[in-house]
């Protein structure tokens, strides 16, 4: 294998100017909530970084995460960062197919043992389920993951399916789908959820890894705090309308036209942690809430099973109306029975009453 180029060399080859590169470094610093004084350090670190080998495994997924990544913006430095990563195996993107593709994976695993980054998108069928539910080149997902894990430095679970099980794990979960974290116990796992994740978040996590050579700070769901530290609601440009109590009540009412808060239309922004509101989509053009649609909460666990996308966050999930009716009727019957019993007891007491006259009492004395 030819010696790996540094990132700086590759960027210059791709015609990226120094100015463009520094702008990217500044954006990375602000994304990671680092002070501007860190920009030169990031630039120096990125400049010298060697292309890390990345093996990308796609399991029970829809390719949406890869689509998000590749169709995002072109050409930008973020794109190039991905070009510059040595993406040694990605069965959707690579030219090789069949046994050659698998050979490339095995070669990359051998050459970079202990050093490569393993990226996974998609969930895995449950460990006790039929392994035939999802295979690549006849190899079950579990087997492929285990083989690739041995020499991996860390695992990045891209997309909600890999991070939390996602759509395959939604009720009734026919394949018993599990997340990467459910399977991987002995290697660091970074979750980059989203359906799909914001492209800049994927590249940002990789950039962070390149710059600091270590894994980012994570929240309890293993999500990088730099991108998932704040909720959509807290960063939403429609937040002032929520605070004022101005809500759209249907998708075409005056409130919707005026761009008011979408809480009543089912927005899950308050309970969703992601970077959409700050980074936006399509080169920063817009994002779901800006386009007039409530946040679905796609970067949170179980978002498919968290009730209707169009039911407000405060509305209950079960069947409370029938519960209320059923329990109310039962209660009324119990109350009626208790009252009837009490009345009957009173009637019995009255009927069995044995009056005593004063004379009788005096006789007893």
């Amino acid at each position: 294998m030819a010696p790996r180029k540094t990132l700086g060399e590759s960027l210059r080859e791709h015609g990226v100017s120094r100015r463009g590169f520094l702008k990217f470094c500044a954006a990375t610093a602000s994304m990671m909530a680092l002070p501007p004084s860190m920009v030169p350090a990031i630039a120096a670190a990125l400049e010298q970084a060697r292309r890390p080998s990345v093996i990308w495994l796609s399991f029970q997924e829809c390719t949406g995460c890869t689509e998000s990544l590749t169709r995002s913006f072109s050409p930008t430095v973020e794109d190039l960062i991905l070009d510059i990563i040595s993406l040694d195996y990605h069965h959707t993107l690579q030219a090789a197919a069949g046994h050659q593709a698998e050979a490339a994976r095995e070669q990359a695993m051998k050459d970079n043992f202990g050093e490569y980054l393993l990226v996974v998108d998609g969930s895995l069928p449950g460990p006790d389920m039929n392994p035939g539910f999802s295979t690549i080149a006849g190899i079950s997902n579990h087997q492929m993951l285990e083989e690739a894990l041995a020499g991996a430095k860390a695992v990045v679970a891209v997309g909600t399916c890999a991070a939390f099980g996602g759509l395959p794990a939604a009720d009734p979960n026919p394949t018993g789908a599990v997340s990467v974290l459910d399977v991987v116990k002995d290697k660091p796992v970074i979750n980059v959820p989203g359906c799909p994740p914001v492209p800049m978040v994927i590249t940002g996590v990789l950039a962070q890894y390149l710059v600091f050579g270590k894994l980012p700070e994570l929240d309890e769901y293993h999500r990088p705090l730099a991108f998932f530290g704040q909720s959509i609601h807290d960063r939403c440009y429609r937040r002032p309308f929520y605070d004022k109590g101005l809500f759209a009540e249907s998708f075409d009412d005056e409130g919707a036209k005026a761009g008011w808060c979408l809480y009543r239309l089912g927005c899950k922004g308050p309970s969703t942690y992601n970077a959409c509101a700050t980074m936006r989509w399509n080169s920063g053009t817009s994002w779901p809430v800006e386009s007039g649609h409530p946040c679905l909460g796609c970067s949170e666990p179980k978002f498919w099973d968290a009730g209707s996308f169009y039911a407000p966050l405060s509305s209950p999930l079960g069947s409370p109306t029938s519960t209320l009716l059923g329990a109310g009727v039962t209660g009324a019957i119990i109350g009626g029975a208790a009252a009837a019993l009490a009345k009957k007891r009173t009637a019995t007491v009255v009927a069995d009453r044995q009056p005593v006259t004063v004379e009788e009492l005096e006789q007893k004395l």
Partner: protein
């Protein structure tokens, strides 16, 4: 259920259904029993109607009579403040209106969030003042039972956690929202078996008072 989102989905789903079932069953059992038992039949000749004075008394008894106010101004004023605040926060906060819409299929206009926020802050202060007064007033302290403190706690917690959730003072949000809903469920479960039932029975008792006096032809 072990993670914040799992916890939130549990309190919004099965836990809410259970709490609601206990509340509805308990309250309906008590109210139906009260109505079926009714009052002892009065054989005396009626000197006036029952319905009019009954409903009138439901309203008039909301205002404390001058004697009561003179004896316990603190209880009357603070009691009014936090009861009103509690009801405003419960029924006029937009997310709560959405909850009732999801539950009962009916909705009504709400208040702007900052108004509800201010009312909630006042309610929290009112409830704390009520507790401090209960602990400091020699007579009140002596006649307070564990039930009184339980009822205070299950009333206070939803207001407090609601305030914390609205201002996002505990992270992550699904955790604090889940705690808020859980505290409401505790309130619902305790409700039918404690003096919290006064939210319904107070009005029944006032009606009976008014009706009895009305029948006797005297003002209540």
């Amino acid at each position: 259920m072990s993670d914040p989102m799992g916890f939130l989905l549990w309190v919004k789903g099965p836990a809410f259904d259970w709490a609601l079932a206990i509340f509805a069953l308990g309250m309906l059992a008590r109210i139906v029993e009260i109505f079926i038992l009714g009052r002892k039949k009065n054989y005396a000749e009626a000197k006036g109607g029952e319905w009019g004075p009954g409903f009138k008394t439901i309203l008039t008894r909301s205002i404390a009579d001058p004697g009561t106010f003179a004896r316990a101004p603190f209880d009357v004023v603070v009691g009014w403040i936090w009861h009103l605040g509690f009801l405003i926060a419960l029924f006029l906060f937009i997310p709560h209106v959405e909850l009732f819409k999801g539950l009962l299929g009916i909705a009504w206009p709400g208040l702007p969030n900052p108004v509800v926020d201010a009312v909630t802050a006042i309610t929290i202060l009112g409830l704390i003042a009520a507790l401090v007064h209960r602990l400091q007033h020699p007579v009140k302290k002596r006649i307070s039972t564990p039930e009184d403190y339980l009822v205070w706690a299950v009333t206070f917690l939803p207001v407090l956690t609601g305030y914390l959730a609205y201002h996002r003072l505990i992270n992550p949000y699904p955790l604090v929202l889940g705690l808020h809903i859980l505290s409401v469920e505790l309130f619902l479960v305790v409700f039918p078996f404690t003096k919290l039932t006064h939210a319904f029975t107070a009005f029944i008792a006032r009606w009976y008072n008014g009706a009895i006096f009305g029948r006797k032809g005297v003002e209540s």
